[in-house]
Structures are given as structure tokens and as C-alpha cells.
């Protein structure tokens, strides 16, 4: 089922895209600097939003600062268009801007995402906005902001390599499966937000502009189009993505990120695409014109 909202129920009494013009200007300046310094976290004056921290306030502020009346917006939460967070944020922008919304990755000009990159390759001109809980990759290794800032200034990321090495020593492999550290443009260590490491290779040389917003932590960062994004690894333990022995049970895809769904209390389970638009498009192609 496809859902689309229209501008019919646009709200009165708020500025276009909710934020005031001064706030947008401040965020826009931060975004321009973020694009100029790929992977560097630009501090910004994060505002109170009409939903709590942790629900995508950073992503929403970035989207609010970049969205125009001609944009087409898609919002996903863990790949899906129809989960609570995605539905709420999509409706928020439909009501405060009146823009067209879509579930189709190819139709969207702006895609706000929580923790996934769509399976359909993005194209030049599209903007993907990530919701970021903790932007600092080094935070659990070094709690002091002044220190992590210095580590970024010097490009001193030895601690991160030690963390990955300890994983190998304990588990025999790098245990991180999401939020997997990357180096952007061979300079800055960047947290890709909690996307599965399956999605990390999609960030590399992506034609779309990638923006990241962390509301509680008050940081914005970016990866411009056609920019090198390298997942950290070792020569003898190269970076690998997840693989499944299953295909999607709805569309049969073998190249997508799969969610494991528990079907009953006897342990029956099912593997389906996490990207609901990708899965649906594949099924529509397989069974055309089913009413």
C-alpha cells in the first residue's frame, strides 16, 4: 500500500518548515561549513523541537533548514516508510510546509532517514539527511570533548584502531555491526550514525549530498557527493558487510538488508527486506496490475 499526503491539511500560524528564519540562517551557515570540511562536526545552536531529543530533532532541523516548496520528501525509519517515527516526521513536514511527500526513493529530492540508506542507489541532486544520536565516534573511548576535538585536529585516531584490535583479540573479528567507524576524504573519523555496516559502502563516492544532524549533541556534519568514505579495517581483517543465507520472503531479493521477524511463539521466523519501498517496488514489478 502506498501512502501519500497532500497539502490539504497545512497548519496555520507557523513559519514555513516550523523554524524561524534566523534559526534557519544559522543552520544553513553550519551546513555550508560542514560541506566544506567533510566529516568535521560543526557545532550549531540546536533548538527545542516539538518532539523529544532522540526522535530525530537533529535531522528535522537540518531538513527544515534545507526544504523548499518544490521539494518532494521521503522519511524512513530503519528503512521503512510506515513506522511511527517516519510517519510522524513526514506528517510534521507535510503540515508545516505543504510539500509533496513520497515513499519512492527515486521520486524524492530530500530523504530523511533514521539508521538506513535506501537500497535504490541515490542520484546526483538528491539530499539524504541522517538522524544522529551521538555524532562523536571517539566519545566512548574519550569522554572529554576538549580531548576528542584535539584528536580530530591532529588526525590522531590510534585509539579507534586499538578498539577494533581489541574486538579481534576478544572475538576473532571486528564485532561492530552498526555505527561502524569511517574515514571521510582520508582525513576525518566520522560516525555514520547507527546504520548497519551493510550500508557503509553506499556512502563511498555517493552522487547524493549526505547531511547529518544531531539535535541533542548540537552538531551538523556532511559528506559531499563523490567523496571517499573508507570503513576502518586491518590488512589481515578487511572490512566485510553482513550476509544472509536467506532471500527476502516477500520479494525474493538477495542483495538487500534483511530484517528477521518473529512470527509466533514457537520460534517461527521470517526474513524480509528492511527497505519497504525497495521490497514493494520489486513485488509490484513481479505482479503487475494486481488491484
Amino acid at each position: 500500500m502506498r501512502i501519500s499526503t497532500s497539502a490539504a491539511d497545512t497548519m496555520e500560524g507557523y513559519n514555513f518548515a516550523y523554524l524561524d528564519e534566523h534559526t534557519k540562517r544559522m543552520i544553513r551557515r553550519a551546513i555550508l561549513k560542514a560541506i566544506a570540511i567533510p566529516g568535521y562536526q560543526v557545532p550549531f545552536g540546536s533548538r527545542e523541537m516539538p518532539l523529544p531529543y532522540g526522535w530525530g530533532t537533529g535531522g528535522i532541523q537540518v531538513t527544515a533548514a534545507i526544504i523548499g516548496p518544490d521539494d518532494v520528501l521521503k522519511v524512513i525509519d530503519q528503512g521503512s516508510d510506515d513506522t511511527t517515527n517516519a510517519v510522524n516526521i513526514r506528517r510534521f513536514f507535510a503540515r508545516t510546509t505543504g510539500v509533496k511527500t513520497t515513499e519512492r526513493t527515486g521520486e524524492a529530492t530530500i530523504i530523511q532517514t533514521r539508521h538506513r540508506i535506501p537500497e535504490t542507489p541515490l542520484r546526483d541532486g538528491q539530499i539524504i539527511v541522517y538522524q544522529v544520536p551521538i555524532p562523536e565516534m571517539l566519545r566512548w573511548l574519550e569522554p572529554r570533548e576538549a580531548e576528542t576535538r584535539k584528536m580530530h585536529a591532529l588526525g590522531e585516531y590510534g585509539a579507534m584502531h586499538v578498539k577494533l584490535y581489541e574486538d579481534i583479540a576478544h572475538h576473532g573479528h571486528i564485532a561492530a555491526t552498526y555505527d561502524y567507524p569511517v574515514i571521510v576524504n582520508e582525513r576525518y573519523l566520522m560516525r555514520p550514525s547507527p546504520i548497519p555496516k551493510f550500508d557503509n559502502p553506499k556512502m563511498h563516492m555517493n552522487p547524493a549530498l549526505q547531511l547529518f544532524g544531531a539535535g541533542r549533541e548540537k552538531r551538523i556534519y556532511a559528506v559531499p557527493p563523490y567523496t571517499a568514505v573508507r570503513s576502518l579495517d586491518f590488512e589481515d581483517h578487511p572490512f566485510e558487510t553482513q550476509r544472509w543465507e536467506h532471500a527476502c520472503e516477500l520479494c525474493g531479493a538477495t542483495d538487500s538488508f534483511l530484517d528477521e521477524v518473529i512470527m509466533d511463539d514457537r520460534g517461527k521466523r521470517m526474513f524480509v527486506c528492511s527497505d519497504s519501498d525497495y521490497c514493494l517496488a520489486r513485488r509490484e514489478k513481479q505482479q503487475p496490475a494486481v488491484a
Binding site: 528564519e21 551557515r29 561549513k33 560541506i35 570540511i37 534545507i66 516548496p69 576525518y188
Partner: protein, 198 residues
């Protein structure tokens, strides 16, 4: 000031909200695609010394938080920006968030401006340089993030020395200045990540 002969201030954007988002998207697109010439698609009424894209960029990005450095202080330009943006004017290039350059022949060297600090490279000057023409047909070769292979940009009035200084300043990355070249309604951006070869 003789109020009797003072020319009235030009108005700013006709539609502040929608003009500024249009201009910002053109700027973000230009910054994400270094060297590619974009149109800002807005022509706010402005003093003649300000090109349309320069006026539009100022109205979109400047406010009380962003000290502006003017290469030549035309009273009409300063009054216009003070009124519409409320930005402080600074004579110190190192204090400026934005700098407006209207004459490329007499513009100061790249390293005159604030390149930020290694811990805060975002606290650097963004240069707005008004030029006589822009073209992607020839010129210096640009590469780096945002450029798929390479792109050529010809900027009238920018000397080979300036390009060499600019390329030399790249060694200080992540510190550095970001540049937006402006020609009429058109812009081309050079973030600090772009490598220049003459």
C-alpha cells in the same frame, strides 16, 4: 549625513522565506559541486556595487552573528547590508565571517583572512568574490570531494599567483577559507577541499 540627498534604501527580498531557501539551495549545491556554475535565481533590488548573487547571498546568510569585511566601503552597500542583515562591519580581515571582494586586481592575499583553528576549522572566513565572468570551458583544473573526475573553471581577473597561493594554503587543511565566486546571478564555489592546478 545629509538626509536630504541620501538615496532611499533598496528593499531586500520580495519573499524573504522563499527567496532565501532558493538561494541557499543554490549555494549548498554549488559548495557540494565545486567549480560548477549555478544560478541563484533571485534578484533582490540592491545597490549597483552589489551583483545580484552577492546581494542574495548576503541576505540569505548574514546577520548579527557574522562580522563582514568589505574590500571597498561604499556607504550605500554598507547601509544596505546593515539595514537588511544587521551584520557588524569589521575592518579586520582576520575577524570576518564573510568578506566581500569587489575588485580582484587589488584583493588581499588568501592568508589575510581567518582560516580557522585546527580544533575549530569552521570558524573561518567565507570569501564572496565578485568577478567579470565565469566559465567551465577552460581555466584551472579542479578536483577533490564533490568533483567526480575533474572540472575546469575560468575566473576572469584572478591571477595565476592567486591560484598558486590558494593551492599552497590547502596544506593547512582542515584550516582554510572557502570561496564563492560571483558573476551576476551566477555562482561557483571553491570549498577548502578543492585542489587547484594551473
Amino acid at each position: 549625513m545629509d538626509t536630504a540627498t541620501a538615496t532611499p534604501l533598496a528593499p531586500g527580498f520580495e519573499q524573504r522565506v522563499f527567496d532565501s531557501i532558493k538561494v541557499f539551495r543554490a549555494l549548498a549545491d554549488a559548495m557540494a559541486h565545486p567549480g560548477e556554475i549555478r544560478r541563484v535565481n533571485a534578484r533582490p533590488p540592491a545597490p549597483t556595487q552589489l551583483m545580484p548573487a552577492a546581494a542574495a547571498m548576503c541576505l540569505t546568510l548574514l546577520d548579527f552573528e557574522t562580522p563582514l569585511w568589505l574590500q571597498t566601503s561604499h556607504a550605500s552597500v554598507a547601509d544596505y547590508l546593515r539595514f537588511h542583515c544587521g551584520c557588524p562591519m569589521t575592518p579586520e580581515a582576520t575577524q570576518a565571517s564573510f568578506a566581500l571582494i569587489t575588485n580582484t586586481l587589488t584583493m588581499p592575499a588568501v592568508n589575510t583572512f581567518n582560516a580557522g583553528e585546527p580544533e575549530y576549522p569552521d570558524r573561518s572566513t567565507t570569501l564572496m568574490i565578485q568577478v567579470e565572468s565565469l566559465s567551465n570551458a577552460s581555466g584551472v583544473r579542479l578536483s577533490g570531494p564533490g568533483v567526480r573526475d575533474a572540472i575546469y573553471l575560468d575566473v576572469a581577473g584572478v591571477s595565476a599567483t592567486y591560484w598558486r597561493e590558494l593551492q599552497a594554503s590547502r596544506a593547512a587543511f582542515p584550516c582554510g577559507v572557502d570561496i564563492v565566486f560571483i558573476w551576476g546571478e551566477r555562482i561557483a564555489a571553491l570549498p577548502r577541499t578543492t585542489r587547484v592546478s594551473c
